[in-house]
């Protein structure tokens, strides 16, 4: 029972944070902070789902590092008001509305059947041991490919920054 209550609590925080981020177009910092709320709440939901590692990484990486970098950039450019107010074209509005409707319909159609029995979890599911073992055996190729991608991004950023200084 308490897990259900917590789920709704985290869910409400996540939705509120997401709305706060989207609606706070005039105040970028407040928007970024709302995003932090969503990230932390999502981390809580992952932990409720026994995916401990993903939950903690959600907070550690997204809330604790990535959004801090967003904030850093926003503060560095000192974008206080209006600069990034989005241009609302008609096409964008229609597209966004359509995507939202499709997602909502999908949730209603497939979400109804989700109360069926959940599978039994294997021992240690979602812990760092289980995830690590999977990551370095079955998915090692993907893992290495991702690290290459990140390395390429890093080198690219360094080169771009260097050109500007020279």
């Amino acid at each position: 029972v308490s897990a259900t209550v917590l789920f709704y609590l985290f869910g409400a925080i996540a939705v509120a944070g997401a709305l706060g981020m989207v609606l706070n177009v005039r105040n970028t910092v407040a928007g970024a902070l709302s995003l932090v709320g969503t990230m932390v709440a999502l981390g809580g939901i992952y932990v409720l789902l026994d995916a401990y590692l993903v939950g903690v990484l959600q907070i550690l990486v997204y809330a604790g590092a990535i959004v801090v970098l967003f904030l850093f950039v926003v503060m560095l450019l000192n974008l206080r008001r209006d600069v990034f107010a989005p241009t609302r074209t008609r096409i964008a509005r229609v597209l966004a509305g359509a995507i939202g409707l499709v997602l909502a319909a999908w949730l209603v159609v497939f979400g109804a059947g989700l109360e069926a029995a959940l599978p039994e979890l294997p021992e240690g599911f979602g812990g760092y041991r289980a995830v690590g073992a999977q990551l370095f055996t079955d998915y090692v190729l993907m893992f290495e490919a991702t690290s290459l991608l990140l390395l390429a991004a890093m080198v690219g950023a360094v080169i771009l920054a260097k050109r500007k200084i020279d």
């Binding site: 910092v29 932390v40 401990y52 903690v56 550690l60 590092a65 904030l71 850093f72 503060m75």
Partner: protein
């Protein structure tokens, strides 16, 4: 659930109520001794000063009765929220620290840790990464350029040191094979032969007297480099001198918290001070054997004492000794932090960043590789 709440309340009350005021007093007295002054001795009740022990109470009273100013043009909500965000992570880190082992009294078991979770160290890192927001939001919400500069410094410094803090300790995780803090403490409650590696790696016999030399299996002996790097990183995370660039009184006045007054400033101050014992306890649990007593494992103590005085008494005595051992190590580390804080001047901002990315990061990565290599060698040999 009730047991957890009672434990947490007890620990928060002891640390916030008794430890924290004492630490502010120790800091004042220690800086006074180091600078050849007399130190805090003015606050008195009817002429009794108690060696300046009344100063913490006077501080709190003063902070509580001061005006709470929110500057014009500040973002009011965030300005009020920031000190809380700075303080809360330090408090909830206390939940995973093992203050003692697990003790069996008859049928019931007493474990001296609030939340014994499998991903304890990940929890510590996650909670610590949230603490960045306190400083970042404070400076931005104050609508003050010095404050903003302080926030920028705080965010870049804390993010950088979070990365290296995680990497510097990976070697230790590899040695312990766990992220659970209670398991780490238990692991350190044993000893190893210092010259045992001769036999393991080279197949040489160890001469008799050398075989007798044993050291406790503490993190500081197994990962000395990791200890230095981790201590440096976690002290930089705390933002106290010599890593206080975000505050930098002489350059940016008080940095991120310059627009705070009264108890809201006090909360930032409390957060920084609370992190001192939290760091000390974490490093104790990770590197200094936690609650363990060197060369005397839990079984030895309980087995030895119970043969004379009975099992219940032996377990109780063992628990008290363990908590005492934990406290002693914690106090030594608090002393070390204070000593460093009053010895070193503030590092320049570029020095702080260079230390992180050009020194600690490569050394940490090298440490991981060397540790992995040695573990493979030892496992292969045995």
């Amino acid at each position: 659930v009730i047991e957890t709440i009672v434990k947490m309340l007890f620990i928060v009350l002891v640390i916030m109520g008794a430890f924290l005021p004492l630490i502010t007093w120790v800091e004042r007295k220690q800086s006074a001794v180091m600078q050849d002054r007399i130190g805090a001795n003015r606050a008195d009740l009817f002429g009794v000063t108690l060696l300046g022990l009344l100063h913490p109470a006077a501080d709190v009273l003063k902070l509580l009765t001061k005006e709470d100013v929110v500057p014009r043009g500040a973002n009011r909500t965030l300005h009020l929220l920031a000190p809380v965000i700075a303080l809360v992570p330090a408090i909830i880190t206390l939940a995973v620290i093992p203050y003692g082992g697990t003790y069996r009294f008859g049928d019931s078991e007493l474990s001296l840790v609030v939340a014994d979770i499998d991903w304890g160290m990940l929890y510590v890192f996650a909670v610590g990464s949230i603490a960045t927001y306190g400083a970042v939001i404070a400076g931005w919400a104050s609508n003050n350029n010095w404050g903003l500069l302080g926030s920028m410094r705080a965010s870049s410094q804390m993010i950088s040191y979070e990365v290296t803090m995680g990497l510097s300790i990976v070697g230790l995780f590899m040695v312990y094979g766990t992220l659970r803090l209670t398991d780490m403490a238990e692991f350190q409650d044993q000893t190893f032969r210092v010259f045992g590696f001769l036999e393991h790696l080279f197949g040489m016999g160890v001469p008799g007297f050398l075989a007798w030399i044993r050291l406790p299996m503490w993190g500081i002996f197994l990962q000395p480099l990791g200890f230095l790097l981790f201590l440096t990183c976690i002290m930089a995370e705390n933002k106290r001198p010599p890593f206080d660039a975000p505050e930098g009184e002489s350059e940016i006045i008080a940095g991120y918290h310059m627009e705070y007054s009264g108890m809201r400033f006090g909360l930032f101050y409390t957060a920084e001070f609370l992190e001192v014992p939290v760091i000390a306890m974490l490093v104790t649990a990770l590197f200094l054997g936690g609650w363990s007593i060197p060369w005397l494992s839990q079984e030895t103590i309980i087995g030895g004492v119970s043969s004379v005085f009975g099992l219940g008494f032996a377990t109780g005595l063992c628990m008290i000794l363990h908590v005492g051992s934990f406290l002693v190590k914690t106090i030594v580390l608090i002393w070390l932090q204070m000593q460093l804080r009053w010895t070193l001047p503030r590092f320049r901002y570029d020095q702080v960043m260079d230390l992180c990315w050009k020194m600690i990061l490569p050394i940490s990565i090298a440490n991981i590789f060397v540790t992995g290599f040695v573990i493979l060698l030892v496992q292969g040999a045995s």
